[in-house]
């Protein structure tokens, strides 16, 4: 935004050293484009419609949750419980669907609506407990959500006795079409991801709530002194993180057609990795939806590349870890050069 100000002794960084072009998200976007280009040249299958369709669908689940986790990371917190939340919410939703199946015959959608409400309530409860413990009680986000990771996963086994749950009844088909169908040739998870990412970008950068989120991550004490309702904003971040996780869990349920009790086991690390690769700073104050989507996409493209290149899948995690460190390293080097 130009204000037409000219100062005698206050310089201004050149365009490539400020704003989006100086952000980690930008570097990752360039890296993503280069890797995709390289793969397209090396493997003719990479750009085939089927492969792209699969990649985009696979990374959507992770990316949707990464959107929510990014909010928590921006405030300077962390949410380790998202993987377990995905599973618990998916299980509650499917088990509710099966429990009410047949009771609403003749009223299509009502059973699914009830099931989704149960899932929503579960997400809300997890997010509220995390948020209140962190913001009001003052527990460390790491420990609180680590505990929630274990509690939610434990409940998954308790309510299922360890058995997988498959959606049944008239509304099961509806769930499949909402979760695994297509819209304008795009897989539904991708459609949801694009809509949510767009909304989040708008809210983060153009609402007072979004601004307060960044202010809390930058200097929580200052935000409090300036009258920002720090506790409420923090709690909302954990609630949205849990909601995103729950939503992605239900989508996975529709995609797989059955929910094992160990659904999304270990996903929290991939999700946090995606946010961090995309430019979210674990110290707080930086991050955004574009970064979360790019980070998730980069991880998936590399996994896909290893598969197409017939590299042992055991190398995947090693390489992803390397990229996490590399992404943060590049950003640190840039910051040092800029002084």
């Amino acid at each position: 935004m130009s204000t037409g100000l000219h100062f005698t002794n206050v310089g201004r960084a050149p365009w490539h050293r400020r704003g989006f072009f100086a952000s980690q998200t930008f570097y990752v976007a360039v890296a993503f484009a280069l890797i995709a280009l390289g793969m397209a040249i090396l493997s003719p299958i990479f750009l085939s419609g089927g492969n792209l369709y699969n990649i985009s669908k696979n990374f959507s689940f992770v990316a949707i949750v990464a959107l929510g986790v990014t909010l928590v990371i921006v405030t300077g917190g962390i949410d380790l419980s998202v993987g377990s939340t995905m599973a618990l919410v998916a299980l509650v939703t499917v088990m509710t669907l099966n429990a009410v199946a047949g009771r609403f015959s003749g009223l299509p959608g009502l059973a699914l609506g009830a099931a989704l409400c149960a899932g929503l309530a579960t997400s809300l409860a997890i997010g509220l407990i995390n948020g209140v413990l962190v913001a009001k009680v003052g527990l460390s986000p790491f420990v609180t959500t680590l505990g929630m990771l274990s509690i939610a996963r434990g409940l998954c086994y308790v309510i299922t006795d360890g058995r997988g749950q498959a959606p049944q009844g008239d509304d099961a088909e509806l769930l499949y079409s909402l979760a695994d169908g297509q819209l304008l040739g795009l897989p539904m998870p991708v459609v949801y991801l694009l809509v949510l990412a767009g909304l989040l970008g708008l809210v983060l950068h153009h609402s007072a709530w979004g601004r307060h989120l960044f202010a809390i991550g930058g200097n929580e004490r200052a935000a409090r002194l300036c009258g920002v309702r720090v506790d409420a904003v923090k709690i909302s971040a954990y609630v949205l993180s849990a909601l995103a996780a729950g939503f992605a869990g239900v989508l996975m349920a529709g995609w797989l057609g059955s929910v094992p009790a160990n659904l999304a086991f270990g996903y929290e690390l991939r999700i946090i990795a995606a946010s961090v690769i995309g430019g979210a700073n674990l110290a707080g104050g930086a991050g955004g939806p574009l970064g979360a989507v790019l980070g998730s996409a980069l991880i998936e493209v590399i996994r896909n590349g290893l598969v197409l290149g017939k590299v042992s899948p055991y190398w995947q995690d090693t390489l992803i870890g390397l990229i996490i460190i590399l992404a943060v390293l590049v950003d640190r080097l840039r910051a040092r050069r800029a002084g």
């Binding site: 206050v10 609402s207 007072a208 960044f214």
Partner: protein, 246 residues
């Protein structure tokens, strides 16, 4: 009528008495220097007036009405602005975002109320100009000099119609030229009928700009007199305890 009237204000933290029986009166357009050694109770007193925490006992009247502040926002709404010692800035936000932090300008109808970036940039630029600070509203605070950061923190106090501005060590960490600018600014605030409480360790600043000086020692107010009736030597004696009372 007094603008601010504190009566018998005290604050205990557990067994520690940080503040005991402080009376303080301040009139419109008056500049009060608040001095005292570290731990004398200055910051505690300021935080009570700013709504950071509530006094254990005592009453506070502002603008003729009894007030009780539960949050900093309450004090701000009443017309008390504070420039904190560490300036309370979020490094990762722009100057304009920091100026408007907690009271962003928005447009549109709920729930579609979005930030009015242009209006905030415009207003922040005006404020910086008024403060004679070469500060771009769109620049990140992280990249700013000490003086610019000071300007951002002070610009905040000019957003609303403040009646009292409290400055906690505003000249502690800036250059000589900038000290002069801050003192100038305090005089401009007084000209507009705004009362100022200046907390400072710097005797020359206090004697340049203040009408009155109050000294705190060990949680109590030990002196409160017009600047013309005292001297730096007497104030130093009061701060250190060499003089018991004025």
């Amino acid at each position: 009528m007094a603008l601010l009237q504190l009566r018998d204000i005290g604050k205990e933290f557990g067994a520690i008495r940080a503040l005991g029986g402080v009376d303080l009166t301040l009139h419109r357009g008056e500049v009060l220097g608040l001095m005292g050694d570290n731990g004398a109770g200055k910051s505690t007193l300021v935080r009570i007036m700013a709504g950071n925490f509530r006094p254990s006992h005592g009453t506070m009247h502002f603008n003729g009405r009894p007030v009780e502040f539960h949050r900093p926002a309450d004090a701000r709404d009443a017309g008390i602005e504070v420039v904190y010692q560490d300036l309370a800035l979020a490094d990762n936000l722009t100057a304009a975002a920091n100026v408007f932090l907690g009271r962003e300008l928005r447009r549109g109808v709920w729930p579609f109320r979005l930030l009015d970036h242009a209006a905030m940039q415009q207003r922040a630029a005006e404020l910086f100009q008024e403060l004679k600070s070469e500060t771009r509203p769109g620049d990140l605070v992280r990249q700013m000099s000490g003086g610019q950061r000071q300007a951002v923190a002070i610009a905040r106090t000019r957003l609303a119609d403040a009646r009292l501005v409290i400055m906690d060590e505003p000249t502690a960490a800036i250059s000589v030229r900038q000290v002069h600018e801050v003192l100038d600014l305090i005089q401009r605030l007084r000209d507009r009928g705004i009362a100022v409480i200046l907390i400072s360790h710097r005797m020359p600043d206090v004697f340049t700009v203040c009408d009155r000086v109050a000294v705190m020692r060990r949680g109590r107010k030990v002196a409160d007199k017009p600047i013309g009736q005292t001297s730096p030597e007497e104030i130093t004696g009061l701060i250190t305890g060499a003089l018991e009372v004025a």
